[in-house]
Symmetry: C2
Subunit: 112 residues, 2 copies
DNA sequence: AAACCATGTAAGAATTCCTAACAAGATTGT
DNA sequence: ACAATCTTGTTAGGAATTCTTACATGGTTT
């Protein structure tokens, strides 16, 4: 539940392909990671792996930087957006909790 | 129209990641290509690039092979399925053509 | 003016990927 | 039964890709 198994978030793209997809240099891509704007996973050997979501985020970052926004600012924006998301998440879960309390605590479909 | 821009079909995954995702050996993955069951793209330097759809197809292929089906047979099945798909495609387009002929040939939304 | 930002570039090592070839057990075809 | 084919592993050597670290530089902030 709440799953999507989506391809979008699976980290499977190496940095060279990301370079092709975004038009950014590998230097830029690694630098944005250094500034904590993006968080690739690693293979056993240490190579970076990105998701399609990462690719899209990188393009957004690059656009902002072109507009003169510093990585520092971009990071603040992202943290703020994240926090808002988390708040919504919490609110939804609390409401769900109330509903469960009112209408039943049964978890499984079977009640022998 | 008819588009999906889907991540699923974009060829962005290198063979090592495909190995991780499928559990197959690189030898197997390349062999199935040799037998014309799968068609990766290539980077400028010659490295293979697969899509998520390819990954899923590889798993299906591997399952059939485990069941004792030969690549030869698998290929025939795939061609047959392909042909059926194409037939459906053609039929749909013919029907669409009839509708257009009956109700109007206008292509663009504007008719000045 | 000093510090910081964003990016390029270079060097050298490690990882990943490539093709080609040989081997071998299992299966298929004659 | 015997030969041919199938599937996979393994090896070898080379090429492509990626890694980190360091230095350089023009632009921007402090």
């Amino acid at each position: 539940m709440g799953n999507e198994s989506s391809y979008k978030d699976k980290k499977v793209i190496t940095i060279g392909i990301v370079r092709e997809l975004t038009g950014l240099s590998e230097r830029q891509i690694r630098y944005y990671e250094e500034r904590k704007l993006i968080f690739p996973e690693r293979t056993a050997g240490g190579s970076r792996k990105y998701s399609f979501a990462d690719v899209e985020l990188l393009v957004e970052i690059a656009n902002k930087i072109e507009d003169g926004v510093q990585t520092h600012e971009i990071r603040k924006e992202m943290l703020k957006a994240q926090k808002k998301q988390n708040q919504e998440e919490i609110r939804r879960k609390m409401i769900q909790g109330q509903l469960n309390a009112q209408f039943g605590i049964r978890k499984g479909p079977a009640s022998h």
